[in-house]
């Protein structure tokens, strides 16, 4: 007997009504049921951070949450970062500082940094680097990701 549950996800302000099995993870719902494939999925058990999204403005691993647990919540993904065709300061900084190569990890890093900066706009550089240690990147060696996020953070603080 398969249980199906009706839920509503608000993804980047758009309503998605779904009927899902409880075992469907949030990342699978975002990608497969809602067609938002900007959020990537890597390890599917919490280690890599590729699936990081904001749930009610808080960065979370979307592979470590069931979609049913996000019923009625506001989800923000990389597709929602740019506003009116203008890239988010973090996205611009990643371009300027070569914060990506293959780009697989990029949506996760962007949402992680965007969420941490919103949670704590005065976060120290040291704590921000610690936050960035949450996610894995196999290409860049991290230094350019750190440079990009610190540059954007300083710009967003209006420094």
């Amino acid at each position: 007997m398969t249980q199906k549950i009706d839920i509503t996800l608000m993804i980047n302000g758009e309503r998605h009504a779904l009927s899902i099995e409880p075992r469907l993870t949030l990342v699978d719902a975002i990608r497969d049921e809602c067609g938002k494939t900007g959020t990537h999925v890597g390890c599917e058990h919490g280690v890599c951070g590729a699936c990081t999204v904001l749930v009610d403005d808080v960065p979370m691993r979307s592979c470590l949450m069931f979609a049913v647990q996000a019923d009625g919540k506001h989800i923000r993904t990389v597709e929602g970062l740019a506003r009116n065709g203008e890239l988010h300061p973090l996205q611009r900084a990643f371009t300027e500082h070569h914060g990506l190569q293959c780009g697989f990890c990029t949506p996760g890093f962007l949402m992680l940094a965007a969420g941490a900066l919103e949670q704590d706009p005065d976060i120290s550089d040291e704590d921000l680097v610690d936050v960035l240690s949450s996610n894995l990147c196999r290409c860049t060696g991290y230094q350019n990701i750190i440079k990009a996020v610190l540059a954007a953070a300083h710009q967003m603080k209006g420094a």
């Binding site: 409880p22 979370m60 592979c63 949450m65 069931f66 992680l112 610690d130 949450s134 996610n135």
Partner: protein
């Protein structure tokens, strides 16, 4: 593709109680059928993704408002089952306990996991390398468990049984954990060795003591990650009690700690290496406490 082909966790029935009473009823109904609580899901969902766990019912306590309690009264800090690790990023109380918890929390997993995983979930999960389990044992926390049979208190030194095993019965909800505030002069030191930022500890030590007339008093030395559960080491505490802090004394206490443990072996470290690490983390924790 049918959903069953693309989904990693096995199917389960989902329940979302709104009160402790309802959660305990559901647990009483389904525990014998491998029904389980899901709190932060940050340990349970990975084990389900690997199909090491295949619970048939999940009872989600995230909607139970009563469990969001984080309060101090009568010199006791109470931590409800829905309090996330991240609640401790800043001191929750103006007592050495607040500083201790905010120092230790930075060693747990990664930022997004700390935003979701819970304090009590860590204790219920009972990973031998859980920082909160070590904290609970070292400071002598009390756990409050509730089932259809009623409420009971468990003391930290009887709570942890072995690797991922506790004295909670399968139908018991861990409702809250309580810590007595520390005396104002309490010093603490924590040191963890892990392979990468956010990884579980290979070994770690938490120590607290006071200096009374320059001499170490009321000392607690706890070691985690080394054995199948965290434990206080009276052998090391005895070496320290009544002496002034010194490099030599800390070496002796560290050696006593290393001699007292029966280290686990796994792919990260064999027993001899872990024993060495116990000495190192104990000494460094003591140095931090004395600094």
């Amino acid at each position: 593709m049918a959903i069953g082909d693309s989904v990693k966790p096995a199917a389960f029935q989902y329940h979302a109680p709104q009160s402790v009473e309802e959660a305990v009823q559901l647990l009483g109904m389904f525990a014998s059928d491998d029904g389980r609580i899901i709190a932060g899901g940050q340990s349970l969902i990975p084990t389900m993704a690997l199909r090491m766990a295949r619970p048939s019912h999940l009872i989600d306590i995230n909607g139970v408002g009563e469990l969001e309690k984080l309060s101090v009264s009568d010199s006791v800090l109470s931590i409800g089952a829905c309090i996330r690790h991240a609640a401790f990023h800043r001191p929750v109380v103006g007592n050495p306990l607040g500083g201790l918890l905010s120092f230790v929390v930075k060693h747990i997993a990664h930022y997004p996991i700390r935003m979701r995983g819970t304090f009590c979930g860590s204790l219920a999960h009972a990973d031998p390398s859980s920082e909160w389990a070590l904290t609970a044992v070292t400071l002598g926390a009390t756990m409050i468990a509730e089932s259809l049979r009623g409420r009971r208190e468990l003391h930290a030194d009887e709570f942890f049984v072995s690797i991922m095993a506790t004295n909670l019965a399968e139908d018991e909800l861990l409702v809250e954990t309580r810590f007595s505030l520390l005396t104002p002069g309490t010093r603490f030191g924590f040191y963890e060795f892990s392979r990468r930022a956010g990884d579980y500890a290979v070994a770690m030590a938490l120590v607290t003591f006071e200096l009374v007339g320059g001499l170490i008093a009321d000392v607690r030395v706890g070691v985690g990650g080394a054995e199948d559960r965290p434990r206080r080491l009276p052998e090391a505490e005895k070496v320290l009690t009544g002496h002034p802090p010194s490099a030599r004394l800390f070496e002796d206490a560290a050696a006593a700690a290393a001699a007292a443990v029966d280290p686990m072996e796994d792919q990260q470290a064999d027993a001899a290496y872990r024993r060495d690490l116990v000495a190192v983390v104990t000494r460094r924790a003591l140095e931090r406490a004395a600094a």
